[in-house]
Symmetry: C2
Subunit: 437 residues, 2 copies
C-alpha cells in the first residue's frame, strides 16, 4: 500500500491539519490520519488540497488565448464569430494534440477532474465523421494522455436560435435530433477515469421539447446547460417562450441535484429560487465572464437559496482555478461594495467537492477515507505564499495562490505532476506545436 | 559599452519587433536597433518590455496578505482597523526587512520602479524617532537592497477626519503641520535611483488649506493623493466642504500634470473633466479595489477626457502588474457589458510610461535612445504564453501573462533578475523571515 505524508492538508476545516498521513488503496484513499509521523511515506511539502475540478471547459478555445482579447470594441457576440472561425479549422487530428496540451496545462494548475462541455461533434456542413464520435474520442484520448480525470458532457445542439437554421459553424455542432444524439452518445466508451454526461447547449440552441428529451435521457447522469450568460439570451427566450431560460429548463424537467447551470449571470429572483430549491449546481466561470463582458452573477444569493457552487475555466483565456475561486468573492465585492460573502473554505469547496459532484464524481473532491485519491499540493516556497502561517493557509490559497504555485498533483493515486512539471509531457512544447497548426 | 539583444521587444507599436539590439551607456539606453544580429550581446529570450512601474504601493501591507481577505462580512472600514493594528507593531528595524522583501517580490514580478506612498512616519503616540525620517530611510535602504528604483512619496496626514483627532494608529502618520512636514521631507536624501515626491493622504485626513500648502511645496515634484476610493469618503467631503474630493483638490491647486489621483473610483462627470483637463494621472489599483470592495472606476472616460493611466499594487494582496493592467479593461467590461475599452498597448503604457511619468521619471518607461535602461523580459516558454505568435504577443502579455512569467529584469542597466531569480536575495526566505516577526 502506498502512503503520502502531507506537511499540511486541508480536510475541510477553517485551517489545514499538520502532518497528515494518507494511505492509498489503488485509486482510492484508504485512511487519513492527522498529526502522524512521515515514516517512509512519500512527502508532500506545502499545503495539500483535494484535487481541483474544472467544471466547465471548452478545450479548443485555448487556441483563442491572446488572439481575441485585444480588439477594440465588440461584445460576447463578436467574440463568438472568432470562436466559430476557429471551429471551421478543427478536425479530430488537430483536436487531439490541442486538447491534450490544454488538459496538461490544467493538470499543472492543479486540476484533477475536468468537465468538457463538448459540442464540436461533426465535420464541415455537419457531416458525421466515419466514427461519429471521433471528436469525443479525441477528447477522451487527450485526457487520458494528459492524466486528468474526465467527464465528457456530450452536448445536444438543435439549431441556430429559435426558428433559425444553424450557420456553417453551428452545423458542426448539430445532431439531427435527440434520438440520433442519444444513439451517438450511447456509443461513447467510459473508463475508470472517464464518465459521460449530457448537456443542453442553451435555450438559444435547444427547443423546450428537445431539452426535456435530453433531460429524460440524462436521468442520474450529470446534466449541464449554459444559462443566462447574456441579457440578450434572456430577451430572446422571453420572446420565444414567454419565460426565462431557467424557467424553460425547469418546465423541461432539467433541474435537480444532477443539473448544473453554467454562468447563471442574469437571473431573476424566481430563477434563483428554482435553482436553489432544486439543489442544482451553479458553475461560475469568472475569468471568462470578465473577458466576455458577461457581468457579475449573484453567487451569494444562489448559495443561500440552496444551490451548490462550482468553477470552470470555460474559454481558457487563463487557466488558474485559484483565480476563478477568489473571483467569485472579489467580483461580488465589486458589485455590492461589501466584503466577505463567501468563506474561504466555501470557495475552496466550490473548486473541489462542488465540481466533483457537478461532474458525477461525488466520491471525489475531499480528503477522506473512501474518496478518490485526487490531490493537489501547493508549494509554500514561492514568493506569493512564502511566510503563510498554517492558520491562514486556506485563505491564502484562495486569495493569493496562483496556478504556478502547484508543485504536485496526484490523480487516482498516480503522480502526474512532480516538482511543478508534468511527469510524461513537455506541456509548453505540446502547446507550441498544437497552436502552430 | 554593454549591449543586450532581445528576441522580441515592444517599442510601443501594436506588435513587438524581432531581434532588437539595445546598447547601454551606464544607466541609459544609448541606441535601439530592430532586426539586428545578436553578435556578442547578452541575449534576452522572450518578450522584452520597458520596466514596469508600480505607481501606488504601501509595502508594509504585504504583511496582511492572506490574513484579512477571508473574514465573513466587513468592508473597507473594517479592513482599515486590521491595517491599523499592524501599524502599531512596526518600527524602522521591523520595517526594513519587510520592505526589502516586498520590493524584491515586486522586482521578480517585473517592477523596476515603485512609488511608495509613505505615511507611517512616527512611533507610538506620534513621537518622532531620533531620526524623524527613520522610517522613510528604511524604505530607501530597502529599495536599494532590492534593486528597484524608488519614488518616496512622503505623505502629509493632518488628522483623523474633518474635525476629528487622530486615533492611536493615525497619530503615527501625523506631522504637526505642513511646515514641520516639509522640513522633515527636505532632509530626505535622493540618489541616482531615488527621488522624493509628495502626497496628500486624502481629503479625509488633510484640510483644504493644508492640501494647498503641500501642493505649493510639491511644485514640479510628483504629487499623489487617494481620491474617492469609497462613497463614504465623498459623502463626508460633501458635508465638510460642500464639494467632491476632486473639486477640493482642484481648488487647492493640486491638480496638474504632476498630480496623480489614486483609485478615483467614485467620480462625478465634473471630477472626470477636472482630472482630464489638468492632464493628471489616475492610478488604478484593481486587485486592491476588488479586495476592498471599492467598486469599478471609469478608466475609459478618464482616458478620453485627457487623463493618463497608471497602475499600483497598493495593498499587496497580490503583486502582479499584468493582473492589474488587464483588470482595468476586464473590470470595465463587467461594469458595461462591452469589450475593448482600452487597446493592449494602452494598458501596457499605463503599466510602464504612465507610471514612470506619474512618479517623476519621465525619462523612463520606454525602450528608446536616451531612456533609462529599465527592462522587463517575459519568458514565452511557460504554459501560459507558450505558442504566442509575435503579432499577438502584446495582447498576450497583457491578458495572459503572470508575474511568474518574468525571467529577466534590468534596472538602470544592472541585471537584477536572471532566470526568474533575484541575483542578490533569496526573496522567499526574506519574506518568511520578515513575516514571522
Amino acid at each position: 500500500m502506498t502512503a503520502l505524508w502531507c506537511e499540511l492538508a486541508w480536510l475541510g476545516g477553517e485551517a489545514p491539519e499538520p502532518g497528515v498521513l494518507i494511505e492509498l488503496d489503488g485509486e482510492r484513499i484508504a485512511s487519513v490520519r492527522a498529526g502522524a509521523p512521515a515514516g517512509d511515506a512519500r512527502r508532500l511539502a506545502g499545503l495539500t488540497l483535494p484535487g481541483l475540478a474544472n467544471a466547465h471547459s471548452h478545450t479548443f478555445q485555448r487556441a483563442l488565448r491572446g488572439r481575441t482579447q485585444g480588439a477594440l470594441g465588440g461584445s460576447f457576440w463578436t467574440w463568438r464569430e472568432q470562436m466559430y472561425a476557429l471551429v471551421e479549422r478543427l478536425d479530430p487530428d488537430a483536436y487531439l494534440p490541442l486538447a491534450r496540451a490544454t488538459f496538461a496545462e490544467m493538470v499543472l494548475a492543479g486540476i484533477t477532474l475536468v468537465g468538457e462541455f463538448h459540442y464540436l461533434h461533426h465535420g464541415a456542413g455537419g457531416r458525421a465523421y466515419a466514427d461519429p464520435n471521433a471528436m469525443g474520442e479525441a477528447i477522451v484520448t487527450a485526457a487520458g494522455e494528459a492524466g486528468v480525470r474526465l467527464t465528457l458532457l456530450d452536448t445536444f445542439y438543435g439549431h441556430g436560435g429559435a426558428g433559425r437554421e444553424p450557420d456553417a459553424a453551428q452545423q458542426r455542432f448539430c445532431d439531427p435530433g435527440v434520438e440520433a444524439w442519444s444513439q451517438r452518445v450511447a456509443a461513447l466508451r467510459e473508463g475508470p477515469a472517464v464518465r459521460v454526461g449530457a448537456a443542453i447547449h442553451s435555450v438559444r440552441a435547444v427547443d423546450p421539447e428537445a431539452a426535456a428529451a435530453v433531460a429524460a435521457w440524462a436521468g442520474e447522469r450529470p446534466l449541464h446547460a449554459h444559462v443566462s450568460e447574456q441579457p440578450a439570451e434572456n430577451a430572446e427566450c422571453l420572446t420565444a417562450h414567454g419565460a426565462t431560460p431557467t424557467a424553460v429548463l425547469a418546465a423541461a424537467g432539467a433541474l435537480g441535484e444532477h443539473f448544473t447551470a453554467v454562468h447563471a449571470t442574469h437571473l431573476t429572483g424566481e430563477d434563483v429560487a428554482l435553482l436553489g430549491g432544486a439543489g442544482a449546481t451553479v458553475c461560475l466561470c469568472p475569468t471568462t465572464e470578465r473577458d466576455l463582458a458577461d457581468g457579475i452573477g449573484g453567487a451569494r444569493r444562489l448559495r443561500e437559496a440552496g444551490a451548490r457552487l462550482a468553477v470552470g475555466s470555460d474559454s481558457q483565456a487563463v487557466i488558474d482555478p485559484f483565480e476563478e475561486a477568489r473571483a467569485i468573492e472579489l467580483d461580488e465585492r465589486l458589485a455590492t461594495g461589501v466584503r466577505g460573502h463567501h468563506a474561504p473554505g466555501d470557495l475552496l469547496r466550490a473548486a473541489t467537492a462542488g465540481g466533483y459532484a457537478s461532474l458525477g464524481w461525488p466520491e471525489g473532491g475531499r480528503i477522506e477515507a473512501g474518496a478518490l485519491a485526487d490531490l493537489t499540493t501547493l508549494s509554500l516556497d514561492g514568493v506569493r505564499l512564502a511566510g503563510t502561517p498554517p492558520e491562514h493557509a486556506v485563505a491564502s490559497a484562495v486569495f493569493a495562490a496562483a496556478a504556478g504555485d502547484v508543485h504536485a498533483v496526484t490523480v487516482g493515486g498516480r503522480e502526474i505532476v512532480r516538482g511543478g512539471a508534468h511527469v510524461a509531457l513537455d506541456v509548453a512544447a505540446e502547446l507550441r506545436e498544437a497552436l502552430a497548426r
